[in-house]
Symmetry: C2
Subunit: 169 residues, 2 copies
C-alpha cells in the first residue's frame, strides 16, 4: 500500500479491482458531491463489470431518499453532509444493490454551500466491508471545487484499500 | 450551437445547464458504458444541483433491471446495447426521478465485448424531451476505451443541446 500515491486514482481503482476480484466481492458507490467521479474512475478500467455492480449519483436530497432510502427527517436534523447521513447512504447502497462493499460520499465542494460549522471542503466518506462493519470519517479538504472533489475521490478509494488490507491481516 | 466544439464537454454541460435553468427543467442520467462520466462532467459545474436531479450508473444488467425497471427479457432478446434497451433506460430514468429530461447511454467501450454485429465502439444513446418525445441513435465511435467513452459523453451532451434548440424553434 505504501507505494500507492494518493493522487493517482486510476491505479488505486485498479488495485482495488484486483483485490475485489480475488475475493469475489462487488462494489457499489453512492456519490453526492463527487457526482459519479468514483464510478467514472472505476469504469475507466476494462473488466470492471466483474467487480463493480452499480452506482447511485444522489446529488439531490430527494435522490438520497428515493434511491437509498435515507430518512428525510435525518437529513433535516443532521444535514446531508453528516456522519449519520453518509452511514445511511452506505446502508442504502448495500440494500439496493448486489454488492458486498459500499463507498458513500457527501460533502461541500463549493464554492457555495459552506457554513461556519461545515465550511467548503468538508466531506464525509463512509465505507462498508464484507464483515458488516461500517466506517466513516470526516475530511477537511482544501482548494477549489475541482480540488475538493478530486481529493474526495482519491481518498475514498485509498482508505477503502487500507481498510480491506487491514481486515485481511 | 455551431460555435460549440464537440470535444469540450464542460462547455457543453454549462450551456445545457443555462438552458435547463432558464426553462426550469431538470436532468437525469442513466449510464452504462460511460459509467458516471456524464454525471461527473455535469457536477463539475457549481450550481448544477439546480438542474441536475440524479444519476443512475447501471453498469450491470441487474442494475438496469433493478434501478430503471428495464425488462430482463428485453435485454436477453435485444442485448443491453440496443435501441429498445436504451429507450427503456430513458423511460426508467424519467419514471424513477423528478426530472423532465433524460439521457441514457449503453455501448461497448472495449477492448472486450465486441462482436461482428456490434463491434467495440457501438454506442446507443437515448434522450427524452419535456414534450414526451424519445429520440435514440446508434453511433460507431473509433479509438480505444477512453476515446469511445469520451465521444459517447460529448455526443450525448451535444445532441441533447441540438434537440432542445430544435424544439424551441
Amino acid at each position: 500500500m505504501n507505494q500507492l500515491p494518493l493522487n493517482d486514482p486510476i491505479h488505486l481503482a485498479a488495485r482495488l479491482g484486483e483485490l475485489l476480484q480475488t475475493r469475489g466481492w462487488r462494489l457499489v458507490t453512492a456519490e453526492s458531491c463527487t457526482g459519479g467521479w468514483v464510478a467514472k474512475i472505476i469504469t475507466d478500467i476494462a473488466g470492471s463489470s466483474l467487480w463493480f455492480d452499480r452506482g447511485f449519483v444522489t446529488y439531490s436530497n430527494a435522490a438520497k431518499q428515493d434511491m437509498l432510502g435515507v430518512n428525510s427527517a435525518l437529513i433535516a436534523a443532521q444535514g446531508a453532509v453528516s456522519e449519520a447521513v453518509v452511514q445511511a447512504m452506505v446502508r442504502g447502497a448495500l440494500a439496493h444493490s448486489l454488492a458486498e462493499i459500499a463507498i458513500a460520499i457527501s460533502g461541500i465542494a463549493g464554492p457555495n454551500g459552506g457554513s461556519i460549522s461545515k465550511p467548503v471542503g468538508t466531506v464525509w466518506i463512509g465505507w462498508s466491508l464484507p464483515n458488516g462493519s461500517i466506517h466513516s470519517r470526516c475530511f477537511q479538504f482544501t482548494g477549489d471545487r475541482e480540488a475538493v472533489r478530486y481529493q474526495a475521490v482519491t481518498t475514498a478509494l485509498h482508505e477503502l484499500l487500507m481498510l480491506l488490507e487491514m481486515q485481511s491481516k
